[in-house]
Amino acid sequence: MMTSAGVRATARIAATADGRGGTALPVLDGEGPLALRRTRAAGSEARVMLVGAMSGPLGGDHFTVEANAHEGARLHVGSAAATIALPGQAKGPARYDVRLTVADDAELHWLPEQLISACDSELQVRTRAELAAGARLVLREEQVLGRAGEAPGRLTSRLTVRRAGRSLLDQELACGPGAPGGWDGPAVLGGHRAVGQLVVVRPEFVHEMPRAALLGEFAALTPLAGPAVLVTAVAPDARHLRRVLDEAVRALG
């Protein structure tokens, strides 16, 4: 819906076990700028691609994506291109909410392309994943500060992962003009223009946790206080960042 306050759009995905060893998608509803496509399945996994039908989000827009993997489902969600936060006519920041739920014995791979914070944009991202005790999750988030050679916009991105009703990870990154001081300094980003997180939650980590490891000078894998690991990486650009996170995925097997 287009209003003077910007575009509001919600996309919903629900994945269920189809009873024949595969995954069905009883809900696959895009809206406006958030279009969804089912792509070729890989084994028991259903694959969905988020296709941006417009640019954005622009200032004042509010996008929401919900993905629910029900018991026994295996869902993989990617996006066709990077999301670019742009300045808009409407007042106030844009909002992008992602709400994920993963049931027992279900698996979600949430692997969208980068979020690029363009000059003069203002975006608040809120990602919440709610997991059952027996859920599996691979979640990647990558933020790029500005298009090539451009100053970044203002970006706030909070990522919360809850498992069995308890907080497993709660992190917020704030950067760009007007962000609290020191965001580009030696404690936070230190001039790096790409930053990413990879969260992997697996019930079997209860028995055997991967050990903390350095992945080069600017990335580390660390066990969380639960059956999960987080890879945090900073890099000069999106390409370097992706290479590091891809290596981490391979290393975790």
Binding site: S167, E172, A174, W183, G185, P186, V188, L214, T222, L224
Partner: protein, 224 residues
Amino acid sequence: MSRAALLVLADGRFPAGGHAHSGGAEAAVKAGRITGAASLEEFCRGRLHTSGLVSASLAAAAALGLDPVELDEAADARTPSAALRTAARRLGRQMMRAARATWPHPELDAVARLFPKGAHQPVVLGVAARAAGLGADDAAYCSLYESVSGAATATVRLLSLDPFDATGVLARLAPAMDLVARDAVDAARRAVEDGVDALPAGSAPLLEISAEAHAAWAVRLFAS
């Protein structure tokens, strides 16, 4: 509230083990990211608004009487680095010993029983503030000041930085500390109403990455 008790708790000589930790400064100095007073100030400013705000809000919430177990879980979720969680619990255990000896209180005893290996330091600091008759704002200020003064003191040792310059950095950060302390207490009060998810969750990627690297060094001057 007792202003004198606040000075006792905030004093760098309070025997809670903080002097052994650099707040990430040792790794940042080695990596060449802190080279003098200016970069130390930027480092501390980044700490203040991320892990500093988180710690201060946890301390304020504990001082307001929120459940230490819930706060400790919130601290775990906001401290993804395993090395930093270990350091925070070790510091929490040392703070507990010092606080119980200084201000004996049943709430400190209860937290010590619940967390024999130590609760996160800001949570213990907040309960200690309660035991000392201090308020949420006192706890937030103690926590914030500690989050930058430790890094400044360590940099004096690591870089032979002039102590006058390091103190100048802390003085220039004072207005930012006032703002962050207010935000931390506001967030703690919201958490009383809405639960611990209302607490801030600011993260500093370079602090987290370099904490893992630092923990693996064979020889280091500081524990974190």
